[in-house]
Amino acid sequence: MAVSLTKSFAGLCIQAGNAIRSISHTQISCEGGILQLYRSFSALQIKGLENGNRESEWLSKSNLHTSSACMTTPELKEWREHRIIDRFYRLPWGGWIRTRGGRRKGLYKKVPRHRWQLQQHIFCNYHQNKLLDTLVAPKWKEPKYFADSPYEPYFQRTNSYWQPNNKKFYP
């Protein structure tokens, strides 16, 4: 039993260095390599083996077998959906715009009106806006102030109660 456990732990050590560090109360340095981690784990196990019940307790309490949604990769890079930044544009008030599919395909068999329609950039709907906001890093949600942006007329909403156009003028 113990041998098989140590084997499985050694296998886990290679993949989940971060998880192991969080379990042990003392900081285990990763510089020593897998061997050191393995030793520290075998020491932990010996402690657990002293009482038969405590082993199962420790296993039930550990967070080795759980996974949580993280904002960052193991290398502490922010998740980012590159496909979204390549295809969509976020306006400062939270709306997203996109292009239409099939705008370059089979144009010879489309009527001029349809061809013109396909060239338009259109707004995403409410649910798509929410979805796209969750899939990009917070950096992309900040307003961007590029000079002479062609989308500048759409930066402000009109006739919207929630995004009033004129600022309140306090003294």
């Binding site: 496909r83 295809r87 798509q128 102030y145 590029f146 000079a147």
Partner: protein, 301 residues
């Protein structure tokens, strides 16, 4: 004895009073609720239940939801919409956060900006109402035309980006405006001069604008700082004709000297040359005189 006692008690009361005076006052920031009020009876026992409020069976109970963006075997929107490089060269593109003429008028009315001196990026930053960040590629201020009809101040403005209407609004009131490029290193000093002088570094020389911005900053219609001053005067008159206002006479103006104050293309602070070091502790300015040093700080390359 009585007198002695009386003295003693008065001393004690004095000390007590002094102690109370020195103690912090009861205020909103240091009062807490009483301990018995902090205790809250546990009423929500959802966590103890069998199914943890996640319903019976299915994706919700098992936590096996579809990945975000998945549309049930249909090609998702992220894949079907074609590629359009909205954020092309994002890391290189310059950004100019806007400050409207209305904002500027308000700063002037509230004496947050001194109009007897030229108004540049530092005087806007010193109000503490606008934030710029060189790490976000903020290359200075974009003066926008909101409130151009209400604007009624005679100023010498130096901004990084403007429109034609803003130039007309400022020149109509007898003021002057220039568009000026600063490189990020100079901007870091201009955004927070105090923090920069505390470092004890020499004042940097301003670099020339990059190739794609050179045309803008040498155009007299944009009042670029690299444009020919005579052509700028011509452009002023042309703009006055276009918008139909009478250009106030600069020659007879009592503030002519202030209105025509300009920085050298290499200079970033008024009255301070590149290469000088400001010593805030001794309140002095160190002016190095080494030839090589001067040659470096007084040449554009």
């Amino acid at each position: 004895m009585l007198n002695g006692d009386g003295n003693m008690s008065s001393k004690v009361t004095e000390r007590a009073l002094n102690l109370i005076k020195s103690m912090p006052r009861v205020a909103l920031n240091n009062i807490k609720p009483l301990p018995h009020t902090a205790f809250k009876k546990k009423t929500d026992r959802r966590g103890d239940r069998k199914k943890k409020g996640r319903g019976d069976k299915g994706q919700g109970a098992r936590g096996t939801w579809d990945p975000l963006g998945y549309e049930g075997r249909q090609n998702p929107l992220i894949d079907t919409s074609p590629r359009e490089r909205y954020y092309a060269q994002y890391a290189v593109r310059r950004q100019y956060p806007p400050v409207s003429l209305l904002d500027l008028q308000r700063l002037i009315d509230l004496n947050r900006v001194n109009t007897s001196r030229p108004v540049d990026i530092t005087s806007i930053c010193n109000t503490g109402l606008f934030k710029f960040d060189i790490s976000k590629n903020h290359f200075g201020v974009n003066l926008t035309d909101e409130g151009c009809d209400q604007f009624a101040a005679k100023i010498n403005a130096e901004v990084q980006w403007t429109s034609e209407l803003v130039i007309a609004a400022i020149e109509k009131n007898g003021g002057t405006i220039t568009t000026r490029y600063y490189d990020p290193q100079s901007l870091a000093a201009l955004y927070d001069p105090l923090a920069f002088f505390k470092k004890g570094h020499p004042i940097p020389k301003c670099k020339l604008p990059p190739q794609d911005a050179l045309l803008y900053y040498s155009d007299p219609n944009n009042r670029g700082y690299l444009a020919d001053p005579e052509k700028v005067l011509e452009a002023r008159e042309k703009l006055a004709q276009k918008y139909g206002y009478k250009l106030p006479d600069l020659e007879g103006d009592p503030f002519k000297e202030m209105l025509l104050m300009r920085k050298d293309p290499l200079q970033i602070f008024f009255g301070l040359e590149p290469g000088w070091i400001v010593n805030l502790r001794d309140k002095s300015v160190l002016k190095p005189k080494d030839d090589d040093y001067l040659r470096y700080y007084h040449s554009a390359q």
